[in-house]
């Protein structure tokens, strides 16, 4: 049962991703991405990562995508535009881009296939799931406390940067 759900959710995620690329307006892209994120969250849940599923929805769907929406609203980009407008950069035609993408995809797939028998049977999932919160907390504030502090510094810096970057310029020429 869970397996069937997994494959359905995978399809949804993939469709959502396609939607990001193919949507006409930025709004459509955001909404498709949202769907994709939800599907991923449930997949995490099915795989036994309960906390992370919640974190995915809270942070990604709830904060990041909302931020995207805010910006789109702010800049009034919600209208329908044209679809594939490739960049005008020389030496970077559509064929080159497709080629890179295909190369990436094939490479990854090949890597996985090359591992082959390294993938064993998946373990049974206990009640607490594969990301038990106490252990996570212990790890975050214990062994990985340095990255944790660095991340918090990063967040602080980001706050400052964002405010500076997006501030309305009040110049002498009165723009």
């Amino acid at each position: 049962m869970a397996e069937i759900l997994f494959y359905v959710l995978s399809a949804v995620a993939l469709l959502g991703a396609l939607g990001v690329i193919l949507a006409r307006s930025p709004m459509g892209s955001v909404l498709s991405l949202l769907g994709s994120f939800f599907a991923l969250a449930v997949i995490y849940l099915l795989a036994g990562f309960q906390f992370l599923a919640a974190a995915q929805i809270l942070v990604y769907a709830g904060a990041v995508l909302v931020l995207f929406l805010f910006v789109i609203m702010l800049l009034n980009l919600g209208q329908l535009g044209t679809r594939f407008q490739l960049s005008l950069a020389p030496l970077a035609g559509p064929r080159a881009r497709l080629a890179v993408t295909v190369a990436v995809a094939l490479g990854l797939v090949g890597l996985i296939v090359a591992q082959g028998a390294a993938f064993g049977a998946p373990p049974p999932v206990g009640d607490a799931g594969l990301d038990p919160l106490p252990e996570l907390a212990l790890g975050l504030f214990g062994r990985y406390s340095l990255p944790f502090q660095a991340i918090s510094l990063l967040l602080l810096a980001t706050m400052v940067a964002v405010v500076v970057l997006a501030k309305r310029q009040r110049k002498e020429d009165g723009r």
């Binding site: 690329i21 997949i43 974190a55 594939f84 995809a105 594969l130 990063l154």
Partner: protein, 106 residues
Amino acid sequence: MNVPSEHLFFLSSALFALGVLGFLVRRNVIVTLMSIELMLNAANLAFLAGSRLHSAPGRPDLQGPLFVIFVITVAAVEAAVGLALIIALYRLKQSVETDSASEMKG
């Protein structure tokens, strides 16, 4: 869930490839940013699949989830800064096309 791990990795690869495609193909810079988020999610999925692979009953492998926490945080940060830049760019060029800011040529 008894899905073989390879399938999780395949899904991650597919999402990543789509993210790359979107990154390369679209001209709207906001969509480009979203593709980046997609790629990061694909990476998260790969981490978790790997963690799932190396866990034993009663002894879960925590490196995967921990790292994913960091990635989520950084992704959020990066999205914020990117969007701030887009706002600044829009103010300057009145457009969010990637081609509109091409003065640094040559």
